[in-house]
Amino acid sequence: MIDKKQETTSSYSFQTYALSEQAITLEFGNEISEEIAEQINSFKELLSENSFPGFKTTVSAYTTLTVFYNLMEVLTSGLVGATCFEKVSNYLHQLKQTTYQSHRISKPGITIPVCYHEKFGFDLQEVAKINKLTVNEVIQIHTSAHYRVFMIGFTPGFAYLGGMDHRIASPRKSTPRASLPAGAVGIAGNQTGIYPLKTPGGWQIIGQTPLKMFDIHRDQPSFLNAGDEVKFKSISLDEFNDWPCR
């Protein structure tokens, strides 16, 4: 559970390494944790408010934030360092001296409607059986927790959500399905996620959301972003079918 009232002052802690000539990765640790996710998210915002010449974009992951930049712009910038990697690395290390206010009330949670009807929850029975629960208990547990988006990856808009209750954890399918519908909600190990596009996939599928998780016609095509807080809400088959703008 994410404590919404907690507010602390701490400092950033990371090491840097070059991913490529035009990307530097900041490593905040080596295990999945709320604290690290909070640091990554907060540093990402700090960097977007204090970017450097040549800065392009960032990619968040479980324990890393990767910063992409234009090498030639960094080269001709006033940043200090023997190489472009050093110039950017020095800049980021300087920026990390800033202490940050960890305020977890900034973002309102996002509620995602999911239809857990057997028509969509292909593996709901299996997940229940693995965990010695009833199907309704699985749904109840899945809709009770607060989740955090740790990472977007795999396909455009695919959000890896952490914070799932261990009682419904399930291994991946031994053989991935050749095609899953867009919106399929799945479980893999201790994670849950939503397939934004019709793609192959190996997660245990427990339901489907009527929301478009990825849409190239939106300014922000991905519905979820790294750092977002998410809850699931169970909807009926009728509600699913009547969902506007499907």
């Binding site: 390494y17 070059a18 991913l19 490529s20 000539e21 035009q22 990307a23 990765t25 080596n30 295990e31 999945i32 392009k56 974009t57 960032t58 990619v59 968040s60 992951a61 479980y62 324990t63 890393t64 990767t66 992409f68 090498l71 030639m72 080269l75 023997a82 190489t83 472009c84 990697f85 990472m151 977007i152 990856g153 795999f154 396909t155 455009p156 808009g157 695919f158 890896y160 596009l197 793609t199 990825f214 190239i216 922000q220 095509p221 991905s222 972003n225 790294a226």
Partner: protein, 333 residues
């Protein structure tokens, strides 16, 4: 001022798509970079006809393709995959080519490379989707309706004409195919050495020293199931000394991952934005275009260089390309 041009595909080829230099701004949302696999050839083809280097090109994979000029055309092509021919005439690469309306252009295999880029005066016309005209086949968006070309597709040029492009057109225009006496010497941008230069990856120390030695001393074969997402490499399996699981983190084109069974995957431009396999190496950015020209069955060898060296190579190439642009600009004055 610009002139409308159009082609019609007669044979569409194995995988022909529109590609520019890709879409950076959406990496954070899991959208791959995409763009030309051999970005150097695509840039040089554009530069040759006075275009900006980032305009959309057609990326052809191998040969087996042909198109008809529905109007007069001013094009240039680059890459090592094919030679363009019309009738008995071989059209030289990296050079402005004028083709009169009705010309049939065929792509003839030369077995040297895999991909060819055709640029047209003003760039190819396609909607800009998520900051790029590149086709991303997996999610079926970008380029020409999010797909590869098929026979009878028609494609027009765009309106981004430079003064130099117009001058070239006027200079070459006529009733016969014609090209300039000058061209770009693309070889001057590539090293003589065949090895692909790589920088040690973050998880370099996770592999046995024998495996690392293998990696740089033996050759790997490009597997048949290679594509725009990545090249699968066949050869000595890489063994791990550290069994730890890697938490998924950002990867980039050029990242060489080692899969669970010790196989190597060299990620290319349509690769996922994150990955969970340990990374033995990162291909120097200047050598990624060379990887794009490898065909299944080709062999590849690797050579380690330092991060500083890779950066220096990138800077030198960027400066060389700038000099080239100035030189061509002068010619088109």
């Amino acid at each position: 001022m610009q002139i409308e041009m159009e082609i019609c595909f007669y044979k569409a080829g194995i995988q022909s798509t529109i590609q520019d230099l890709g879409r950076y701004p959406y990496l954070s949302q899991g959208v791959p970079l995409s763009g030309a696999m051999d970005s150097l050839s695509a840039r040089l083809a554009n530069i040759a006809i006075g275009n900006s280097e980032e305009l959309a090109t057609i990326e052809f994979t191998y040969a087996a393709a042909s198109f008809v000029a529905e109007t007069d055309l001013l094009i240039a092509y680059g890459g090592e995959g094919v030679l363009l021919i019309t009738g008995n005439l071989t059209l030289p690469p990296y050079r402005p080519l004028f083709l009169p309306k009705g010309t049939m252009v065929e792509l003839q295999n030369n077995n040297k490379g895999a991909r060819t880029y055709v640029a047209i005066a003003g760039g190819w016309n396609a909607p800009t989707i998520l900051a790029s005209k590149s086709t991303y086949l997996t999610a079926a968006f970008g380029g020409y309706h999010g797909r590869t070309f098929i026979a009878k597709d028609k494609l027009k040029n765009d309106k981004n004409w430079s003064d130099g492009t117009l001058k070239l057109f006027n200079q070459l225009q006529g009733k016969e195919p014609k090209f300039t006496k000058w061209g770009i010497l693309a070889k001057s941008f590539l090293p003589d050495d065949n090895s692909i230069r790589v920088v040690p990856g973050r998880e370099f120390s996770w592999f046995t020293s024998n495996s690392i030695l293998h990696f740089v001393s033996s050759s790997y074969k490009i597997a048949l199931n290679s594509n725009r997402m990545g090249l699968n490499l066949e050869g000595a399996a890489i063994e791990r000394s550290k069994k730890e699981e890697l938490l998924s983190t950002a990867v980039a084109p050029g990242t060489i991952q080692v899969t669970g069974n010790g196989n190597l995957v060299l990620l290319m431009t349509d690769c996922q934005t994150t990955g969970g396999y340990p990374r033995i190496a990162q291909v120097a950015a200047v050598d990624i275009p060379r990887c794009a020209q490898l065909k299944p069955g080709d062999n590849i060898t690797f050579k380690y260089i330092s991060q500083e060296n890779a950066e220096q190579l990138y800077i030198e190439q960027a400066l060389d390309i700038n000099i080239l642009k100035i030189a061509i600009n002068d010619k088109l004055q």
